[in-house]
Amino acid sequence: MKPVLSISDLTVSYGHGVQGKRTALDGVDLEIQSGEIFGLLGPNGAGKTTLIKSILGLIEIEKGSISIFGGSARARKTRSRLGYMPEVANYYWFMTPRETLEMFGMLSGMSRASLNNTIESTLELVGLSHEKDRLIRTFSKGMQDRLSIAQALLHDPEFLILDEPFSGLDPLGRIHTRNILKKIKGRGKTVLLSSHELSEAELICDTVCVMKSAKVLRYGPLKTLLEEKADHSLETYFIRMIGDDA
């Protein structure tokens, strides 16, 4: 079976001239299989967000290749099968959640007729159905995060990319997000998430990838990785990996 995402020898650098070149990703190789929840872990500056931006075509890659569903990551058809939740969830302050989802749904190619029902059920799923006509500028961070998940899920994408979905959430928010992710997995979707929250990643991920200093240190099924070094938790494994390499 073809992997959902296949990355080969990916290298990305920032800056040039007097600023000096900084390598943000250095020869990254990865594969994500259909139906799995893949956790991208690493300290700040490891290259997680750069990797996600590369997958989404938001930054130029220097070397290597990215293939999604066997095709180009930049192709319109490919991107209509993706859902993305950014790390910082900012949406137009002058719109309501309903208008925001309407805009994103139409950008995904959904028809107006199918949108109405889908918007209602998606807002229901993220717990924003009572706030659908309130301007986003009055929203708390948690509410904006929920809207962010809603826009990523709205068009029922096959592959979801979530950048720090647990960041800044209170315990209830985390449980809610975790439950949403479990539901998504239950529907056979593939999820790539980056996270600093190791306990959450351990609860939900099938496969994890540890990154440090622009490189992938190790990736594989969570169970296998923990058994390899007889670690009790992802946290101890993570600290050992980061420490080993330091």
């Binding site: 920032y14 931006k53 989404l56 075509g57 938001l58 930054i59 130029e60 319109r76 058809k77 991107r79 209509s80 993706l82 993305y84 939740m85 950014p86 910082v88 900012n90 949406y91 137009y92 002058f94 719109m95 208008e99 805009m103 994103f104 139409m106 950008l107 995904s108 190619g109 301007l135 962010s148 826009q151 990523a152 990319i161």
Partner: protein
């Protein structure tokens, strides 16, 4: 086309929910009413004076709206990170630029229509029917060309300059070319947005502009608009976000 319309609609929605436009429109009404109360150089002199102030207000305020909105569209999207989920959808960067252009041009044109209609209505209410309606119409159409020129220019500059610097530069280009456009050395090779301004003709009720000249100016504006937007798209495509 659909994506351009969706993004343009977003700009329109922002415009209608901000207070900028309502303030500028209120200011224009107050200024027109104030000018209408001033007696200046007899009835004939007053007619010209009133036309000059009224048209200038409609022209300048609509350019200010175009420049202010165009200068902040893309930098604001990048700074607030609202651009990421949009470009993660099947939306090309060219569509993003064109959507922003379409939205800003639409709001500038809407504002100008309202400002210009207010001016003409207040002028006609004074009982002055000496200006041919076709001359007013030409003034309207040519200013739409100018708005297209400045909206696209400001969008291009927004990829290089901060919002404040861009607004300043674009307005300097507007006023500079209006006042000194023909007298700048080597001006043959520079764009001439002042060609779209027939304020003097309307004020003094001179002859209408021949149709072929209006058509030529339409092509001139379209070529510059296309050049600015193609350049903006080429620059934006290569930008890391």
């Amino acid at each position: 086309m659909r994506n351009i319309a969706i993004l343009g609609k977003g700009v329109l929605r922002e415009f209608l929910r901000r207070k900028d436009f309502y303030l500028i429109f209120a200011l224009q009404i107050v200024m027109i009413l104030y000018v209408a109360t001033i007696s200046f150089g007899g009835e004939r002199g007053f007619g010209r004076y009133f036309k000059e102030i009224g048209i200038s207000l409609a022209y300048i305020f609509s350019v200010i709206i175009a420049v202010i909105f165009a200068s902040r569209q893309i930098p604001q999207e990048i700074e607030s990170k609202t651009i990421y989920p949009i470009l993660a959808h099947p939306v090309s960067r060219t569509e993003f630029i064109l959507g922003k252009f379409a939205g800003v041009f639409l709001i500038a044109a809407m504002s100008f229509t309202l400002f210009y209609a207010t001016f003409i209505a207040s002028f006609l209410l004074r009982g002055d029917l000496s200006t041919p309606p076709l001359l007013f119409l030409e003034g309207y159409v040519l200013h739409l060309f100018l708005l297209s020129f400045f909206t696209s220019l400001t969008i291009l500059l927004s990829l290089f300059l901060s919002t404040a610097a861009n607004s300043g530069v674009s307005l300097i280009v507007y006023f500079g070319t209006n006042w000194f456009g023909a007298s700048i050395p080597g001006s043959l090779y520079l764009p001439h947005p002042e060609l779209f301004d027939i304020k003097e003709k309307i004020i003094h009720t001179w002859d209408i502009v021949p149709a072929w000249v209006v058509l030529f100016l339409g092509i001139y504006a379209a070529l510059y608009t296309a050049f600015f937007l193609v350049s903006a798209s080429a620059v934006f495509k290569r930008r890391n976000l």
